[in-house]
């Protein structure tokens, strides 16, 4: 396997954008090409488009060749759209990494893009709820917020996690999101605001949920042989795994325990011979405040059941045990499904380059972990990124 690196990264402003799916592709492409002035677009031989549901939200299918044309590239190795709901972008990165590592592709673009807002937000929700097993589970009227609300209920019941601890995750997200101009909600949020916000699915209120968002992000990925042509600071993709052990509610068992993530994290740490203590930055899938708390635990940053205490003690802030979501995470950045995983890699790239505002810069960071989940927390993926060449 060849060594693979991110050598360019671009992003659009996330939010409710006056731009359609195609506009977002071009905007992210422009940002990427500006970031890599030495790139001749004819060198790009592969394109991986992470986009969950353009068929529903942009009323357009077969988007990979369209994206290639919009980017002005003529890929000749792999051109594919990748769908994996909320982690479509992360899985697109996995395929690009695999293709470049194997030697099939030399220069690949990963483009994560989603257009979710419109005048018909109920149509957006109509698509979000079929991500679960629509025929037998989510037909019972629930999208993501009620499911994660039920995770929160179980977590509070079993481990004594408090409403205030959930809110603290959102306060941290605002702290860093306010320093991220690309974030949908780039302002600080007070504890009181979180606690008094309109309820979406109790105990979760509006601020406990990531946004419905338009946005795109793009990466240039290549092998060791070519990396220096494009950048002085390649971000090495060490790799990672993915895991699913159930899909339905009936197979989920205890929903406050994410066994697939626990097993996945152990698998990754063992394979790469590292421990959770070695991680400097963790960009994790905080689709809801409770998600981040469960992830602290399953990723091994703290003991099971102590995620609430972990945020309360400030251990997930920069300067704590591990800097979790210094970008502001999904809670502040918003969550355009296909773009989210790519946005995390963009963030890690900017952190390693030292190109983020000082207040949210993780000084001296060399090893980063990106985690994503999809569906009703039924599938997880982890990727490790390193500033040092492996």
């Amino acid at each position: 396997m060849r060594k693979v690196a991110i050598v360019g990264a671009g992003i659009t402003k996330f939010g409710r954008r006056d731009a359609n799916w195609r506009d977002l592709v071009v905007e992210a492409g422009k940002a990427l090409f500006d970031d890599v002035p030495n790139l001749d677009r004819n060198e790009v031989d592969s394109l991986f488009v992470g986009s969950a549901y353009p068929e529903r939200w942009a009323n357009t299918a077969h988007v990979a060749p369209m994206a290639a044309e919009l980017l002005g590239i003529k890929p000749r190795r792999i051109v594919a759209k990748v769908e994996s709901a909320c982690q479509s972008g992360a899985i697109a990165i996995r395929y690009a990494w695999l293709s470049v590592a194997s030697g099939l592709s030399d220069v690949a673009i990963v483009l994560g893009v989603e257009k979710m807002t419109s005048k018909f937000m109920n149509l957006t929700q109509s698509t979000m709820y079929i991500v679960g097993d629509r025929e037998f589970d989510t037909v019972n009227g629930f999208t993501a917020p009620p499911f994660f609300a039920m995770v929160a209920q179980r977590h509070m019941h079993l481990y004594g996690t408090t409403r205030e601890q959930l809110a603290m995750v959102r306060v941290k997200a605002g702290e860093y999101g306010s320093e991220n101009p690309y974030a949908q909600f780039n302002r600080k949020v007070t504890m009181e605001e979180v606690l008094k916000a309109r309820l979406v699915a109790p105990p979760l209120g509006l601020f406990d949920c990531s946004g419905i968002t338009d946005g795109a992000a793009a990466l240039l990925i290549t092998s060791e042989e070519r990396a220096r042509k494009y950048t002085d600071t390649p971000v090495w993709i060490l790799g990672g795994f993915q895991r699913t052990i159930h899909n339905s509610i009936n197979e989920a068992g205890e929903i406050a325990d994410w066994l697939s993530l626990r097993q996945l994290a152990k698998d990754v740490y063992d394979h790469f011979k590292i421990t959770p203590d070695d991680i400097d930055i963790a960009e994790v899938h905080d689709c809801f405040t409770i998600s981040e708390i469960v992830e602290y635990e399953e990723l091994g940053f703290c003991k099971k059941g102590e995620g609430g205490k972990f945020i309360e003690e400030g251990q997930s802030y920069i300067g704590g045990k591990v800097a979790v979501n210094p970008s502001g995470g999904l809670l502040a950045c918003g969550h355009p499904l296909g773009a989210t995983g790519v946005r995390q890699a963009w963030e890690i790239t900017m952190q390693f380059r030292g190109q983020v505002p000082r207040k949210r810069c993780v000084a001296g960071a060399e090893l980063a972990l990106a985690h994503n989940l999809s569906g009703l927390a039924c599938m997880h993926s982890i990727m490790l990124y390193s500033l040092k060449k492996p």
């Binding site: 009620p146 039920m150 309820l199």
Partner: protein, 160 residues
């Protein structure tokens, strides 16, 4: 100039109809047609494998555990326990918005996981504030009428 005239409404299309598959036109429409037929006859059922005797749900035409295609339909016990619950107050999908808000619960029936199921269900005659984990619930049949003369069946939970 030529003009074409578009209709003001279109029928409820399968892509936004939550119960699209629960419109069994007959045993050929789905291999687990019996599940819906049972609902229409007042029974909420799961499959039990005739070979390994294990229960599996959601329905599928082969046992999840041993992949035998020999199975029987058994009734879900009438009394279960709330495992978790919430309410859907904001952000409704199309169609659901017509009868929202409502409470949503996950309940366990029987001796889960060995000999029981963990399923989600809507609750209509109770408030979120009136529930707690461990409350006893029962399931009952939900009749879904419309659009037009269409009638379909699902289930919901009731607090005991």
């Amino acid at each position: 100039m030529k003009e074409i005239r578009l209709p003001d409404t279109v029928p409820l299309l399968p892509i936004i109809d939550p119960w699209s598959q629960q419109d069994p036109e007959g045993p050929d429409s789905t291999r687990v047609y019996e599940f819906y037929k049972n609902l229409s006859e007042g029974r909420l059922t799961v499959q039990r494998c005739k070979k390994c005797r294990k229960i599996f749900y959601p329905p599928q035409p082969a046992c999840k555990h041993c992949y035998s295609t020999e199975y029987e339909w058994i009734d879900v016990p009438k009394v279960g326990e709330i495992f978790s619950f919430t309410a859907m107050l904001l952000g409704f999908p199309m169609v659901f918005e017509t009868f929202a808000p409502f409470v949503i619960a996950i309940a366990r029936f029987g001796n889960y996981p060995e000999n029981g199921v963990q399923i989600a269900g809507m609750m209509f005659d109770v408030k979120y504030e009136e529930l707690k984990i461990g409350d006893k619930v029962t399931w009952d049949i939900l009749r879904i009428r419309g659009p037009g003369e269409k009638v379909r069946y699902w289930y919901y939970f009731k607090k005991l």
